[in-house]
């Protein structure tokens, strides 16, 4: 009996969005008289950072500081339609809708500034710090908040914009499967090292290294958070988690966190990750989205590492100690034969 080590890798692609029935998301942007720019929509913040990412996209497009952007979301009375927070679609769909809305609002803002400065709107730029000035002439400058206020009180203009992103519906041909079901593909590749105790069947993940290609990263801090959280969830899926320990039987279903085993801090190995950025034409500033794919490469990589360590052919998850021991027994039988 021994502790055996093995390495495994897995490479995955991940589609963003699902166009089966059309997949629209809308956003509105408007300037308040207090100097804020409000993005209104009805997508849902689940902790993934939707509000943060959309604020960044709006600030970038409007050319105003991030702090000036307020994201107001999650109310079907005030926010325009969103097809749901899932399918890795939110950064992509809502992001594109926010860009469209922010562009329209920005043009409106520049038009007002142009009247105030008596120049053409085409000659105006934003400095990202909250000012609008004439290209190359920094002195000819106005604070965006002042322009917004003047728009409302002097020029009778609503500095606002509307945006929608609607990938066309694509029905799947029932015979051939022909369809255009997604907007773009993101990629990941993971290498893990495991140690398997052949006496107890317990598996430990020793290290996990990944590279992700997710188009443009809107927010590297949040992307890293998703990748680390997904690596952990991948370990849970690969080694522990099930609501049917004797699948397909329904007996012994867990009803609490004692019986539904998920890994803790002690089960987390060192995680290394690197990001490649190949912007997608379809995505907001080239973003593809990352939230859903993050467990997909770790799971098969772990199983491959176990198979590599033991020279067995496990093809099921979770690889519980019982599964490991069964595979070892089978192998011993086959080797003996």
């Amino acid at each position: 009996m021994a502790k055996l080590r093995g390495t495994g890798m897995a490479a995955v692609n991940y589609p963003t969005g699902m166009h089966l029935g059309g997949d629209p998301t809308m956003a509105l942007v408007h300037a308040t008289s207090s100097g804020s720019f409000v993005v209104t929509l009805s997508s849902v913040e689940l902790g993934q950072g939707l509000k943060t990412v959309l604020a960044q996209i709006a600030a970038e497009t409007l050319g105003v500081p991030l702090e000036a952007v307020v994201v107001d979301t999650g109310d079907t009375d005030t926010g325009p339609h969103c097809s749901g927070t899932g399918a890795s679609r939110t950064t992509h769909r809502a992001g594109n809708a926010v860009i469209a809305a922010a562009k329209e609002a920005r043009q409106e803002m520049l038009d007002v500034a142009a009247e105030m400065l008596e120049v053409s709107a085409d000659d105006l730029v934003t400095d990202g710090k909250g000012n609008i000035h004439v290209k190359g002439v920094v002195e000819k400058s106005l604070p965006a908040a002042e322009v917004a206020a003047a728009g409302q009180f002097v020029y009778g203009k609503s500095i606002s914009g509307r945006g929608i992103f609607l990938p066309p519906a694509s029905k799947q041909d029932p015979e051939t499967g022909e369809s255009a079901p997604y907007s773009t593909q993101a990629h990941a590749c993971t290498v893990v090292e495991v140690e398997v105790d052949t006496e107890t069947g317990a598996v430990r993940v020793l290290s996990l290294k990944s590279v992700y290609e997710i188009g443009r990263q809107v927010n590297p801090e949040l992307v890293k958070g998703q990748i680390v959280g997904g690596a952990w969830m991948g370990i849970g899926h690969a080694l522990y988690e099930t609501t049917a320990p004797y699948y397909p039987a329904i007996d012994h279903a867990p009803y609490d966190f004692l019986n539904y085993v998920i890994p803790g801090a002690a089960e987390m190995p060192e995680v290394q990750c690197e990001i490649l950025e190949y912007p997608s034409e379809t995505g907001p500033y080239g973003a593809k989205g990352v939230g859903e794919m993050v467990a997909n490469a770790p799971i098969p990589a772990i199983v491959n590492a176990i198979n590599n360590a033991l020279d067995v052919c496990i093809g099921e998850i979770p690889v519980t100690p019982e599964v490991v021991l069964r595979a070892l027994e089978e192998k011993a039988r086959a080797d003996g034969a």
Partner: protein
């Protein structure tokens, strides 16, 4: 098709490592979730659930529950106007098959039968336990392949073979590209395996829940942890026979979702109870309900038969997948279609044949979870790639890089791939993990068809 990899131009705010907007509130313990909402005169809803996986309902006696301390109302199937059946994702052709509260039959252990609304959660819980149900047990089926076999007990009359119907008459979601049988016959090797994933609970730390509040003007505001406000709103309206504009759905901070809050779960019954009582009604799953009664990630069984040449080219990939939908459809057809169009994974294979069945079994209905439909495909594909490599005695990195798709290649669903960068991602991973790739593999590119 561009022959060069696109580059990201520098931007101001996009690309910056900005902190999550709610972090300060989170660490201060000031973030309020659906479960933290309190309204004057708020009532609590608890469910009496089936203890049988498959049975006829002979009688549901709610008299004792209705008399129990603190109880304001008991709801059964008879209280639902029209008895609408839930249709999952109507946009992708879902058919109504699931009652909000069971009427004549239960099809899984945990199915909702009677809702009890009381002043406190404890009173509702105690009263729900007093609902008496007489069952006539029916033979149950738990395994996907057994459910499809001739003579298996039928769950839903609408689905005679215990599977969903795609298009008008297809038992499976199909992909047909090239001639897979011919390619298998001509391949140097055929590598065949089966893969199985398990049902998994999304387990967000905040359980599923909502509070339905009568606004007093004929409208109802539903505060919910749902991931899909608009579609849930429309489903609730359809079930309750209300014009959709009488509903308003509001979401605040949500304590994690991972797909587990994409399904309709609590909103219909809570809103119905709010209508019937005229008071705010909270319906929140206990952790136990979250574990056994909420939609899980489905279990998938995937059979793969690959035709491989000795030089490492995969020339055929034939796949049959059984998606364990559990007792009702919910979003399973969507997951199955998504799964089907993912084949053959990030590789270019000229001959692809896929059948994906959504199979009904007497299990907790499954739903969405992070990587819906794709996770099981990626799992099966990537474990299979290692087996193919072993079968032909090739290094697994080489096998993947040789077969990796490139921009312009045809995918299983008859569209050329765009935005491919699998090769570069594998190459970078090799570098990160100090894996030496030979020169020919290092010079591969997703933007060029030939090495060099």
């Amino acid at each position: 098709m561009a022959s060069e990899a696109p580059k990201a131009e520098a931007l101001n705010v996009v690309g910056q490592p900005v902190k999550l907007r709610d972090l300060k509130k989170h660490v201060g313990g000031q973030t309020s979730y659906c479960d933290d909402l309190r309204f004057p005169r708020m009532l609590h809803l608890k469910m009496h659930r089936s203890v049988q996986p498959h049975a006829k309902l002979l009688a549901v006696d709610t008299a004792a529950a209705a008399r129990s301390e603190g109880v304001v109302r008991v709801l059964t199937h008879a209280d639902l106007p029209g008895g609408e059946l839930w249709s999952g994702l109507a946009t992708v052709g879902g058919a109504g098959d699931e009652p909000v509260l069971a009427s004549d039959k239960v099809r899984w252990k945990g199915e909702a039968i009677a809702a009890v609304v009381a002043r406190t959660p404890e009173q509702a819980e105690a009263a729900a336990a007093k609902v008496k149900v007489r069952y006539e047990p029916l033979p149950a089926v738990f395994d996907v392949e057994e459910a499809l076999a001739a003579g298996a007990p039928n769950l839903i009359a609408h689905w005679p073979g215990n599977h969903y119907i795609f298009g008008d008459d297809h038992a499976a979601a199909q992909i047909r590209l090239g001639d897979v049988e011919k390619a298998l016959a001509e391949a140097d090797r055929v590598v065949e395996n089966v893969y199985q994933t398990s049902p998994i609970e999304q387990a967000p730390l905040e359980t599923i829940g909502c509070v339905a509040v009568p606004d007093g003007d004929g409208r109802y505001t539903v505060h919910t942890g749902s991931q899909s406000l608009s579609s849930t709103l429309k489903s609730v309206a359809a079930y309750l026979g209300l014009p959709a504009n009488r509903l308003r759905f509001v979401s605040g901070s949500v304590g994690g979702g991972f797909g587990g809050k994409a399904d309709l779960a609590v909103e219909v019954t809570a809103t119905l109870a709010a209508i019937k009582t005229g008071r705010p009604v909270k319906y929140r799953y206990t952790r136990e309900e979250e574990m056994f009664a909420s939609s899980t990630r489905a279990a998938w069984r995937v059979y793969i038969k690959d035709g491989v040449m000795n030089d490492g080219r995969i020339v055929a990939r034939k796949v049959t997948t059984y998606h364990d939908s559990g007792a009702y459809l919910r979003m399973s057809n969507y997951g199955a279609m998504k799964h089907s169009t993912h084949w053959p994974g990030p590789y270019t294979v000229a001959n692809v044949w896929v059948d994906v069945y959504c199979v009904f079994t007497n299990r907790t209905p499954s739903g969405a979870m992070r990587g819906f439909g794709i996770m099981p495909a990626s799992f099966a594909i990537e474990v299979q790639m290692d087996r193919v490599a072993k079968a032909i005695g090739m290094d697994p990195w080489r096998l993947r890089l040789l077969n990796a798709y490139r921009n312009g290649d045809m995918r299983g669903h008859h569209r050329a791939v765009k935005d491919a960068a699998m090769i570069e991602t594998i190459q970078a991973t090799a570098k990160l993990s100090e894996q030496n790739l030979t020169g020919d593999l290092q010079s591969l590119s997703s933007w060029r068809q030939k090495a060099g």
